[in-house]
């Protein structure tokens, strides 16, 4: 697989799993912005769900729009149809809005890269807290590395979680007084209460 600007692998156009690439993916109008507003809303919603499924499946936490335009996400090789840069941005814009349940978040004002919240930071935080409680590690010092790269979390959903996403999710806990992050820049740890 090739690598995009974000350093994430881009899946090939073959062997696309049906659980991710559903019927609408092979429906040509899916790749054209619909003129009727009701249909457009339905289309945007379907795109949002598709992008979340795609990112969840390939464990992608952020997308670079430019790099993804030629990937199976925005381009159907069989139909030879894909979203334009403008249309792709419009979809992400929808996902980032309240209407789109804020399932995306632009990473900068230039709107080139976006977080894709197939699971929001607070939702990740819940998984982590549950694991910490189940393993009796409240009040214990844990490194951020061992949380998402350690042997003990290998079977957890948050294993391999993006470092920045981890930070965001832990911050939601810090604000509630349920955790405290400490340590120097790249060697941080966390304590749960």
């Amino acid at each position: 697989m090739a690598y995009g600007a974000t350093g994430q692998p881009q899946p090939s156009h073959e062997d696309l799993p049906e659980s991710v690439f559903k019927k609408s993916y092979n429906f040509p109008p899916f790749f054209s912005p619909q003129p009727t507003s009701l249909t457009r809303q339905a289309q945007l919603k379907k795109w949002s769900e598709f992008i979340q499924r795609y990112c969840r499946h390939y464990r992608l936490f952020q997308l670079s729009i430019i790099d993804t335009l030629q990937s199976p996400l925005f381009y159907n090789a069989r139909l030879k149809k894909g979203l334009s840069l403008k249309d792709a941005k419009a979809v992400i814009e929808y996902m980032a809005s309240k209407d789109g349940d804020e399932r995306a978040e632009w990473r900068g004002p230039e709107k080139a890269v976006a977080w894709i919240w197939w699971r929001k930071p607070e939702e990740w935080a819940t998984l982590i807290v549950n694991w910490v409680e189940e393993t009796g590690q409240k009040g214990t010092v844990l490194t951020l590395y061992e949380l998402v790269q350690g042997e003990t979390t290998e079977k957890q959903e948050f294993y391999g979680l993006d470092t920045e996403v981890l930070q965001k999710s832990l911050n939601t806990l810090v604000k509630k007084g349920k955790a405290q992050v400490f340590g120097t820049e790249d060697q941080q740890g966390v304590k749960f209460f």
Binding site: L142, T143, E146, Q180, F182, G189, F193
Partner: protein
């Protein structure tokens, strides 16, 4: 301790543990890199053999061997570090246990003081016993007195009953008047009252005799 504000502060112990755990993580990452290298060297050796280049294959295997020796050393260091970290964490647990015991002892002593200590308890038990005995005497006194009154009433009732039954004239056996003696003239009320008083005095005298016995 639980959710108290002090628990949300990160102590020097926590930072020390974090440092050790970060060092542990670094060693683990280093081990991962070595594993990648040794795997790659093995592949290189196989490729060289396939091409008939035995010398290069041997060289790759020597490099792999060296990397594996580094891995062993790292394993030993990692083990030492993990033992130290675990010891520190356990020592902290022991410290918490000791603190808990101290707190428990303080609470216990405080309770003892509130109770007045052993002397206070003994004194109170003594007072309780005295009060209990006094109550028993009061109960006995009351029971005796009431019993006397009840007894008088019961016996009075009995006498009245006896009078009603025994005092009734027998049915005359003969129909002719004048041949049998006439029934006694009934006593006056005054006479009956005098009899009751006399009997009451007699019973009181008997009770006094019984008590003295």
């Amino acid at each position: 301790m639980g959710n108290s504000q002090s628990a949300h502060k990160i102590s020097a112990h926590d930072r020390a543990i974090l440092d050790m755990k970060n060092q542990r993580d670094k060693l683990r990452q280093y081990q991962k890199r070595i594993t990648v290298i040794t795997t790659r060297e093995t592949e290189i050796a196989k490729e060289c053999l396939a091409k008939g280049d035995k010398a290069k294959a041997l060289l790759a295997l020597r490099r792999k061997k060296y990397q594996e020796s580094l891995l062993s050393k790292t394993d030993a260091q990692l083990e030492q570090l993990e033992k130290l970290t675990s010891s520190v964490e356990f020592a902290l647990v022991q410290k918490d246990v000791l603190f808990g015991l101290q707190q428990g002892t303080q609470v216990l002593n405080m309770i003892h003081k509130e109770m007045g200590g052993l002397e206070g308890v003994e004194k109170m038990m003594g007072e309780t016993e005295e009060a209990r005995r006094y109550q028993q005497e009061i109960s006995e006194a009351l029971a005796g007195q009431m019993s006397n009154e009840d007894e008088d009433e019961v016996e009075d009732e009995l006498e009245a009953m006896e009078r009603e039954v025994v005092g009734l004239p027998d049915a005359p056996n003969k129909t002719i008047l004048g041949e049998d003696s006439l029934p006694e003239v009934p006593k006056t009320e005054l006479e009956r009252e005098q009899e009751r008083r006399q009997k009451r005095k007699e019973r009181a005298r008997q009770r006094r005799v019984a008590l003295e016995a």
